[in-house]
Point group: D2
Chain length 258, copies 4
Amino acid sequence: MIEHPDVQSESDGRKVTINRVGVKNIRYPIVVEDRKNKTQHTVAKIDLYVELDSKERGTHMSRFLEVLNRYHQENLVANLEVFLLEIKKELKAQAAYARFEFPYFIEKTAPVSRIKSLLSYECIFEAAYSDEYKLMIGVTVPVTTLCPCSKEISEKGAHNQRSYVTVEVLFKEFVWLEELIELVEGSASCEIYSLLKRADEKYVTEKAYNNPHFVEDVVRELTLKLRADSRITSFKVESLNQESIHDHDAYAEVNFNG
Amino acid sequence: MIEHPDVQSESDGRKVTINRVGVKNIRYPIVVEDRKNKTQHTVAKIDLYVELDSKERGTHMSRFLEVLNRYHQENLVANLEVFLLEIKKELKAQAAYARFEFPYFIEKTAPVSRIKSLLSYECIFEAAYSDEYKLMIGVTVPVTTLCPCSKEISEKGAHNQRSYVTVEVLFKEFVWLEELIELVEGSASCEIYSLLKRADEKYVTEKAYNNPHFVEDVVRELTLKLRADSRITSFKVESLNQESIHDHDAYAEVNFNG
Amino acid sequence: MIEHPDVQSESDGRKVTINRVGVKNIRYPIVVEDRKNKTQHTVAKIDLYVELDSKERGTHMSRFLEVLNRYHQENLVANLEVFLLEIKKELKAQAAYARFEFPYFIEKTAPVSRIKSLLSYECIFEAAYSDEYKLMIGVTVPVTTLCPCSKEISEKGAHNQRSYVTVEVLFKEFVWLEELIELVEGSASCEIYSLLKRADEKYVTEKAYNNPHFVEDVVRELTLKLRADSRITSFKVESLNQESIHDHDAYAEVNFNG
Amino acid sequence: MIEHPDVQSESDGRKVTINRVGVKNIRYPIVVEDRKNKTQHTVAKIDLYVELDSKERGTHMSRFLEVLNRYHQENLVANLEVFLLEIKKELKAQAAYARFEFPYFIEKTAPVSRIKSLLSYECIFEAAYSDEYKLMIGVTVPVTTLCPCSKEISEKGAHNQRSYVTVEVLFKEFVWLEELIELVEGSASCEIYSLLKRADEKYVTEKAYNNPHFVEDVVRELTLKLRADSRITSFKVESLNQESIHDHDAYAEVNFNG
């Protein structure tokens, strides 16, 4: 058998540990846990890294893909810890990291007509395994926000807009994406649906008008709810409002380390 | 002097004319005409192409950049025809094409406080020179739209959102970007500003509420105005509404070839 | 039952037919036909439009979603014609349009090690139904291209890069996405894989070096192959080379209407 | 004069400090310092935030724009500290933050033909002012990298690609963007130019072939150089290689806190 020199395995004299090295922007079909339907098929953008010891010249990029090929059709949410441990071992690394971004779909029921439709939520799982395993889960939720100031000062109407609220949490006890989504949808002027009939449109318009929220109100309400959840140890909350009266966005962010 | 073989100039036996070949996604600082201030500095994304005769193997990519380097600090709007003619000659081509995308800034005055601020509009110039010179100019204008149905069926309030309206025109007599922008801003529920004080916010909220527009209304009003302008020979109008009650957009498009 | 006024159904006096109006940028999970595995789960970005008669004020946006909800779990490729016909009927329109963009995954076998891995291809289906049904299918294929000029003039090595080749076709007899992908992968310097071991890396490096292609060569080879396929009636071929020696791209395009 | 209620100034009982609240994604023309030409016009994407005290309900978004309007035509690099201090004062905040992203252009000279052309570099300035003023500057530099393993194992050729190397630094003594760019361009297989004639193309092809760099080599060489610069107190170095033989990227990152 022909021997191809293994340049990556050469020793390196520069004495620089590389914090993270690996493969980025892999698009891959995955299966994730679904609270209602057990599992769900989706497509992820995946980054996989290890820490590289100062003595080694290069990592072995193909091994990340070999491990991914073994796991992607499994339920990756449930198996992320063993997946990452396997990367750590195969790459002989002190630490391994994985980041998954994927749309997750939930069937929602319109408030009046009760018609069902799917809404998509962009999710993030960020896992790290050095001495111990850590998992951050996050989700971006589209909602409606209606401006309290605009309502107060105007005779009729109030400007409102689509906002994207992102919650990222570390927990000591499992939290469902669905739970985070519900917290966000209850902290805005109104939640969003893919399919609304006229009676629903009347409902969401009036609900938002009666429930005005500054970008600051959204992140504060969420902060109070997340702080009160004993499973969650630290979190970050962001809201980005696509202001309908400007061409820039309003933004607020709260970080909490419990 | 050393001779490097000119592989691109080899003859090609496959008998396939290439409609467009060249360089894409060049980022370059340019100077453009400004109705009020004479000229304006901005940064463009530029694509430059020629038609390639079936007998030639390759075009000479570096010549596009050589011509661009001679022109970018000139007023490119005023000189686009000679710029394109020079590309056509330098590349010995039957046809040459250029596309410029760039933000263009206009100082706007808030409706009540009269405070001034800059707003950015994404513009497109698309020029072609085969037998004769043709220029398409286009601009995307952010505006507010407020839903007539939501207003009609709801007791209070109405959902509204940021919309992006794009107008692209061919003309027989020069039309300013500023004129197209004014037409669009007069065909929505309300125009948008970067800087609004509270009295302005009251004004734009109430104006939008009193002036509801479906996505269909926006493109129809614009169509009537553009058709009535004898300088404009053909056009395309699009509106994309970032619905505040959905996570998808509403869209309408009218094409007119006079 | 409460009656909500149907503002969209009002008659319109402006006499402007809207070419396309509907919903854009819907993210939805879909099932598509797979030549090898029968079906494949993926996630699409979907646009749905109808033509709007000059006499009607607005279209009924919610109906697009109602039809989509009935079809997305079916095999949408096989059912696109009936799906579009249903939209046309439900919206009472003269013409209906649909555009789907989605990643499609194919298992590839590394050239030497025979290791298998998935590669993702961005696909487009664009369907129109006015008098008759028309379908355009397209796919973007990542490949390696190696510059013939750089190879010829340099003592050793040659610059090469990732290129994205897009083929869009209209046909009179069904063509698989897999067939288009194979045509593209055979018209570049070398095809691309997600997972390559060292023996594979040697193979693809040498294959690309022995098989240099200008951006012009890629689109011409593809043009000859597509013209020779009697099922295909018209097509567009594009190649975008992410030049490793520049920060802009090289680009070529051929359009063919048979 | 009519009084409009100031809802933002209401007191808030939720006792949640908001870490950052403000305006995001403003596009604005700015003037920046240029080592060779004194100043340079460019266009930035700007985010401006303050910390919001737990007792206040909302920030005053319009004031960010008012301060920006006073400064954008000044040399913002030189004046960022006073700019941020003014935001802090106008908004009566404990801390203020600004982030600018903008393309910066440098004239480069081709290595053999000596022809000049402009190359664009994406830059970031991130400034914070709480107790004291802190500035992070960063730049992303496109370069060529050629794979050492591919070269070693292959008879001829080696895969190479465009890479984007990002350096972000904190310093105690001023460092020019141009200095960071030079460090990066000397730490890759070869630097990149917009305009290369054939003799230049031979030069860069051969230089890259004789100078292979893994993604790990790029970040390590840069780490050694940045550590050796006594002006720089901490930094982050990233390289993203758009692998020509894969459709995903290779990535490495080093963080250093001196």
